[in-house]
């Protein structure tokens, strides 16, 4: 049986085709302003990539912010459950999952069987979300892909005290003006977001091992900051970005 999981985030849309418990194909596109259109496009391109027909897909589950705009999905499920399922599949012994999304960050606790037992999400503020990193990367005129690596080269991270995205941005401007080097500022930025996540982890109570899901898991700077703050190894998978979509595809199997 083939199932499809679609994760429509605020920035990217991800799709995973699952066949007999293994990944058949995956695909990622930018969402743009219309999540419904993005869903249609993702489906079409994914079918082409996998060279299968729409009718071969038994069931579709959608997740992410735009989940309710995907009218061809059989069901919409929240990201918490999907990331839980997805990461449990990729890294089976994980008990704590950190996901930094475009406008939501979450910490999810799984029991030994991989069932979600608790979670927290960031409060209303954008600090501690992927948006924070985007804004900061732009302020530093660095491509987001290289942002993490840059921070690893720092020897003396700058202090960024404001949790507010807007104020942190102006703090950075003044650090630059003071002549602080790029690496140190960038490292300070990663530690700043790390601290926000750290307090969320403490709020639910960390259970090891810890893994990261979502696109930000590819950012080595965030991983490094979190490892330092949480004093534990953070596992990731090259497929972490597809965590939510994969979980949705897995859920579709049992629906």
């Amino acid at each position: 049986m083939i199932t499809l999981g679609i994760d429509i985030g605020s920035l990217t849309a991800k799709g995973v085709l699952l066949k007999d418990n293994s990944i058949l194909e995956k695909h990622l596109i930018q969402v743009g302003y219309n999540s419904k259109k993005a869903g249609d496009k993702l489906l079409a391109e994914l079918l082409e990539k996998a060279s299968i027909d729409r009718t071969e897909i038994a069931r579709i589950v959608a997740t992410g912010y735009g989940r309710n705009s995907i009218d061809f999905a059989d069901k919409a499920v929240s990201e918490i459950i999907c990331h839980g399922k997805g990461i449990h599949f990729l890294l089976p012994d994980t008990r704590t999952i950190i996901d930094i999304g475009g406008q939501d960050s979450k910490v999810i606790i799984l029991n030994a069987k991989g069932t979600v037992v608790n979670f927290v999400m960031n409060d209303k503020c954008a600090a501690g979300t992927g948006r924070f990193l985007d804004v900061m990367a732009r302020a530093m005129e660095t491509e987001i892909q290289y942002f993490g690596e840059l921070s690893l080269q720092s020897k003396n991270p700058a202090e960024i005290s404001s949790v507010c995205t807007v104020f942190a941005e102006s703090e950075i401007v003044s650090l630059v003006a003071k002549g602080e080097n790029r690496e140190d500022i960038t490292s300070g930025i990663h530690l700043s977001i790390g601290r926000r996540i750290y307090s969320m982890v403490r709020r639910v109570g960390m259970v090891e091992p810890v893994a990261m899901s979502g696109g930000v898991a590819l950012n080595i700077g965030v991983i490094d900051a979190l490892e330092k703050l949480l004093k534990t190894e953070i596992k990731t998978s090259p497929l972490a970005q597809y965590g939510g979509a994969l979980g949705a595809a897995l859920l579709a199997v049992n629906e």
């Binding site: 990201e79 918490i80 459950i81 979450k106 069987k113 069932t115 979670f119 409060d123 209303k124 709020r203």
Partner: protein, 405 residues
Amino acid sequence: MAERLKATKEMKRIMRRYYAQAKYAHYMGKKVAWITSGGPVEPLIAMNIIPVYPENHGAMLGASKKGGQLSEFAEGLGYSPDVCSYVKDDIASTITKESPIKGGLPQPDMLICSNNICGTVLKWYEIQARNFNVPLFIYDTPFVHTEFTEEAKEYIKEQTKEYILFLEKVMGRKFNYKKMDKVGRYSLQSMKLWKEILDTAAHKPSPMTAFDAFFHLALIVTLRGKKIVLRYYKTLLKELQERNTKNIGAVDNEKYRLLWDNLPIWFRMRWLSDKFANHQAALVADTYTQAWCGVIDYIDENDFLGTMGEAYTRIHLNVGVDQMADTIKDFIRKFDVDGLVMHSNRSCKPYSFGQYDIQNLIKDMDIPVLMIEADMTDDRKFSESQVEARIDAFMEVIKEKKRTK
């Protein structure tokens, strides 16, 4: 969808009549007192003074989606965005007359403020006392960090005495102790009835939800001490008991039971209730409406005036976090709930401040907790998609948990 409670209609009628009477009080030679929601209202009723609650008015303004707009107006006057929206709504409405009641609340002849709910009310009532140029009485309740001491007991007894003196002075006549005795008995009885009403929700399925409680609360807040409250609550109780014998739930096919903490989000009651009902979840109880019957045990029906001070001092918002957590634990057990929904209310600091501590203190209950960030009347502080995402995730976690148990 289960039908609405039949009693509701009568309740609306009573409230309308109450506000009409308050509005025309001055024509009938009566005096009006504005009073805080946790304030000792019974002596006012014994003195034939009509009590009016700006907080209840605030709830009405919130429900009619005027909260954000009025708060904005007040902020334009210089009030900080962090000030409680009930305060801002009231101050703004006093000026703009924006209100579901034509012309706004009737003008007060005196103000009665008790700080058993928060410190904000002190400044609020001082401002309004200057504004209306009327006498203000502050019924000062010491905070009960861990225990209610002998000194506190003495102190609060003095407060009650001063309160009576204040009323005698303002009204220019002796206090009516005989009527007070009757009013006290009615008040206690209505609290007991209110408790019985809320307790019907322990039944599965629950015949009412917290949203019903939020609505029916208005009577015990505004009119406790009056006979009409008894009559109405008896009717309501009967209807709920009937539902229970017939196993009629307020939420169709109730599967999950939740507890709500903090004030309601007045401008999103419908939306929230539908949202939870779609998940077959009933908010069966809440800490807010329970506050009006949580102190029954401290009151002696033969000496209401002498014992009310302790009761007013020991209400939910005037005790330490440990005790708040204990109360929540009791409700979790009594109403057998699957999850706790905490409204982190931008306005109400005393209610919201300890919520993370409470979460830690109730960890051993092993139930998922959801935090919703909002405000009771200020719709600018509410983000629908964020709240929706959190509720969906929370309900899925509860479902998974129940399924795999």
